[in-house]
């Protein structure tokens, strides 16, 4: 189930650790004394270093070691956490990311510069008393059979006595004796002299000592290796009794083990309480299996194919008189539906992972612009298809930058306008029906409509004085080449980006709503369908062709009698509960060249508040629609957002609801203007 390439797993894990560390660091900026967060950051750095060293990212391990050391000192209260330290580690983190992505690159200069900043931040003492080189490959336990081992057998006399609690702690004395026996010919004698009387005997304690005569070709080191884990705590005397030179060795403590622990209190780590990280740490952890994204995509494809095959089966069964076949077909239909739903859930990830990275962005932007900014996030647990999350990352970055750069005023300007000097940016997500709505809201100056209009006129996007609805005017900011920034800053405002935002959102079959109030702020909402790969659709027939209308957009279906149709000729409006709704005859739009069916149907679809009726020849029914993208060669065809394969193997095109509603509105505006 999981990728078997540990390096790849490490990279994924490193990305998560970076997020966790970053989130912790940003939390610390709010409360430098939060011990839990300090611990969490330390742990993140520690794991990064340890795992990095395991998988050959030595430069990363060496570099991270310094940051870890710095936080270790903070953790132990030896140095205080400061803004400078947090900033230095934030900077260092970008470097660590580079060390993960291009471990072979030349990073030395950057390393040195960042370390200097880090040392300055902890009073130049970050590494005092510590070895600054990366952890070296271990030398002790593996040092068996060294080159110096004598060719012929050497005789040793070994007397040892393990600590009383050795067995409780998992050391098996018989195992040690077995290991000695493996080294060569061995005579073992137990020393039972210290076994106490029954009254004071602790059954779990070890009272026996041993003396062993061993002849081995593997030398003294091999013997030490047998006792490596207990060497510090035990009595052992190894005497060489071979003819060469009786060299009585004193109990040899493992040289590298440093002095035992001073009594610091044990860290009883509480779950880290970094906001935005709750799902990972919340209480008892559910068991997780990590699956590479492409496997999920593969599985999604298979499920898609299954859904298609199933609809073919349903069609066959439907035209068959065989009741058993029908029953089986219904079962398969139910199961594939459930499988589809489960699959959808698997692809859903909380948007919190996306929001997390904005805290850093806002932090950086605040430093760059000198504005005082507070970022609030809401609805982090809202779940969205992972593809949507991936594709939305860049557009959201752009929108947030835009809000901060263009929307929020500098502190003095805000104060002059009677506002709090801290500008607020609220990033929120919520689910509504089949859509997820992601909103970026600021309390800045709002969009200057006059300036937008002037700019659009001067750049030829609209005619001078052209009549526009407010929404149309605001949407102009998403036109290619449009930028209202009076002064181009290096953050945003080069006029590239907003059009890309719009394109990306549309590619996800989403729409953008803009609201803005002068002096009060702006709000940009991205409404994106929850899932991309399979939708519920309404299959209709227009002329000889089959088409799918996304069910999430369908409000109702009506019958359009020939009389109604005739009466509405030239008007293309019907009255629906006292509202005039424009409608489109798809037969005409699609130039089918066929006569209308006698009983035409109208499907009323909507996006937001706008509605439009689509006149079709026949409503065939619900259809689980596996979305296939249209070829590049058809990208000029805006009426369709994709295609799907029907049960009979034919192709049906999926109507682009947003586009059709826009066409309807345009028609409405024109008719209103004319009439």
């Amino acid at each position: 189930m999981t990728s078997l390439d540990p390096i790849q797993v490490f990279r994924t894990e490193a990305a998560e650790l970076f997020e966790q560390i970053e989130s912790g660091l940003l939390d610390l900026l709010n409360d430098l004394s939060d011990q839990d967060t300090i611990d969490a950051v330390f742990r993140g750095l520690h794991t990064l270093k340890g795992s990095g060293a395991m998988f050959g990212f030595e430069a990363l391990a060496a570099f991270t070691h310094h940051c870890e050391t710095a936080f270790d000192r903070v953790r132990k209260g030896q140095v205080p956490a400061t803004d400078e330290l947090v900033a230095a580690v934030l900077d260092a983190q970008d470097h660590m990311k580079a060390l993960v992505s291009t471990p072979q690159g030349d990073h030395e200069d950057a390393s040195n510069r960042l370390l200097a900043a880090l040392h300055a931040a902890v009073g130049g003492a970050a590494t005092t008393g510590h070895v600054v080189t990366p952890p070296l490959p271990q030398a002790s336990a593996q040092a068996a059979a060294p080159a110096s081992a004598p060719a012929k057998g050497q005789a040793f006399h070994i007397a040892f006595r393990l600590p009383a609690n050795a067995m409780i702690n998992g050391t098996n004395p018989l195992g040690l004796l077995d290991e000695l026996r493996e080294l060569g010919e061995c005579t073992v004698k137990a020393d039972l002299s210290t076994i106490p009387g029954l009254g004071s005997l602790e059954p779990t304690d070890l009272y026996i000592g041993w003396s062993v005569d061993l002849v081995t070709e593997q030398g003294r080191d091999a013997i030490d290796d047998v006792f490596i884990f207990v060497m510090d705590d035990m009595d052992i005397k190894v005497t060489e009794v071979a003819p060469v030179e009786a060299k009585a060795a004193e109990a040899a403590p493992a040289a590298k083990a440093a002095s035992p622990a001073p009594e610091a209190t044990l860290q009883k780590a509480e779950p880290a309480k970094a906001p935005g990280n709750e799902p990972k740490h919340g209480g008892k952890q559910a068991e997780n299996v990590r699956v590479p994204a492409e496997r999920l995509d593969e599985l999604m494809d298979r499920v898609g194919e299954l859904v298609i095959a199933q609809s073919r089966l349903s069609q066959l069964a439907g035209s068959s008189a065989d009741l058993h076949l029908r029953a089986v077909s219904e079962d398969v239909e139910r199961l594939s539906g459930e499988l589809r739903d489960t699959m959808m859930v698997l692809r859903m990830v909380p948007v919190g992972s996306l929001f997390g990275r904005f805290r850093r962005l806002v932090h950086d932007l605040a430093r760059e612009t000198g504005k005082v900014i507070e970022l609030e996030t809401e609805g982090e647990t809202t779940e969205v298809d992972k593809t949507v999350i991936e594709r939305l990352a860049d557009p959201l970055v752009h929108l947030v930058r835009n809000s901060i750069d263009h929307g929020l005023e500098p502190p003095d300007e805000r104060v002059a306008a009677g506002k709090d000097k801290t500008g607020r940016v609220i990033l929120s997500a919520r689910q509504s029906g089949g859509e997820v709505i992601i909103t970026i809201k600021d309390d800045g100056r709002g969009i200057n409509r006059d300036r937008v209009r002037a700019k659009a006129e001067s750049s030829g996007l609209i005619q001078p004085g052209q009549m526009l609805t407010d929404q149309e005017l605001l949407q102009l900011i998403f036109q290619p080449g449009f930028s209202t920034a009076a002064q181009v800053t290096n953050l945003s405002g080069r006029g590239v980006g907003m059009d890309v935002v719009k394109k990306t959102v549309e590619a996800l079959r989403g729409v953008i709503d803009v609201r803005s109030e002068n002096g009060r702020g702006s709000e940009i909402s991205l409404r994106i369908p929850l899932t991309l790969a399979i939708i519920d659709g309404l299959l209709v027939r227009v002329g000889a062709g089959s088409y799918v209308i996304p069910l999430s957009a369908v409000e109702e279906c009506l019958e359009l009698s020939l009389e109604d149709d005739l009466r509405s000729r030239g008007r293309s409006f019907i009255s629906l509960r006292d509202n005039l709704v424009p409608f489109l005859r798809l037969r005409e739009l699609f130039e089918t060249g066929t006569p209308p069916d006698r009983y035409q149907k109208m499907v009323v679809i909507s996006t937001g508040d706008a509605r439009v009726g689509l006149v079709v020849d026949q409503i065939i029914g619900d259809h689980q629609t596996v979305i296939k993208s249209m070829s590049k060669l058809h990208h000029d065809v805006v009426t369709f957002s994709g295609a799907t394969i029907l049960g009979d193997g034919g192709v049906a095109l999926i109507l682009d609801v947003t586009h059709l509603v826009a066409v309807g509105q345009y028609q409405e505006a024109h008719l209103r203007a004319a009439g």
Binding site: S629, S631, L633, A643, V651, L653
Partner: protein, 167 residues
């Protein structure tokens, strides 16, 4: 993509080879050849779905092994009359590189002949004058007996088809 660039790239079709392995097929009596390496599959006619609003050159789509791919009619590019499908009609699915990405397209053909090799020595660039077709739509002509085999420059054809005004 810039047609000049495309042409330049496609000029390397022979890649210093003496021979080119191709699939030959006919359209309105002319013999065409496409590099065999680009041919994915030869299909019997499938039900086509018309795409309202699409360019006439790529007016429909088919279901090719679960993928929805466009069907193109080279006759449109070479100003030929549309003809009725016959029992010999086939769809040749080719893979093209458009805007740097691979793209599958089905080509309507009247009849598919064979996979054969064409000698480089017999190839000639398209004549600049005296030809009713756009010269950049043709990579080269290869003489075979008294006839010519046309190697069309699909990348250019597919990247320069005008929007629906051509209808």
């Amino acid at each position: 993509m810039n047609p000049e660039t495309v042409k330049h790239l496609f000029d390397h079709v022979w890649k210093d080879q003496d021979e080119l392995s191709v699939l030959t097929f006919s359209l309105n009596g002319e013999t065409f050849a496409i590099e065999a390496i680009n041919v994915q599959e030869i299909l019997d006619l499938l039900p086509e779905t018309r795409v309202p609003g699409a360019k006439p050159f790529v007016a429909g789509v088919i279901n090719f092994r679960g993928r929805v791919i466009p069907i193109a009619d080279l006759r449109r590019a070479f100003g030929m009359e549309a003809t009725e499908a016959t029992i010999d009609s086939r769809i040749v699915v080719v893979e093209l590189t458009l805007e740097g990405e691979p793209c599958l397209v089905g080509l309507r053909t009247d009849k598919v002949h064979e996979v054969t090799t064409l000698p480089h020595a017999a190839a000639e660039p398209p004549p600049i004058v005296g030809m009713r077709w756009r010269p950049d739509f043709i990579h080269c002509l290869v003489r075979r007996g008294t006839d010519f085999v046309i190697i069309p420059n699909l990348e250019v054809i597919f990247s320069t088809q005008p929007a629906r005004s051509a209808a």
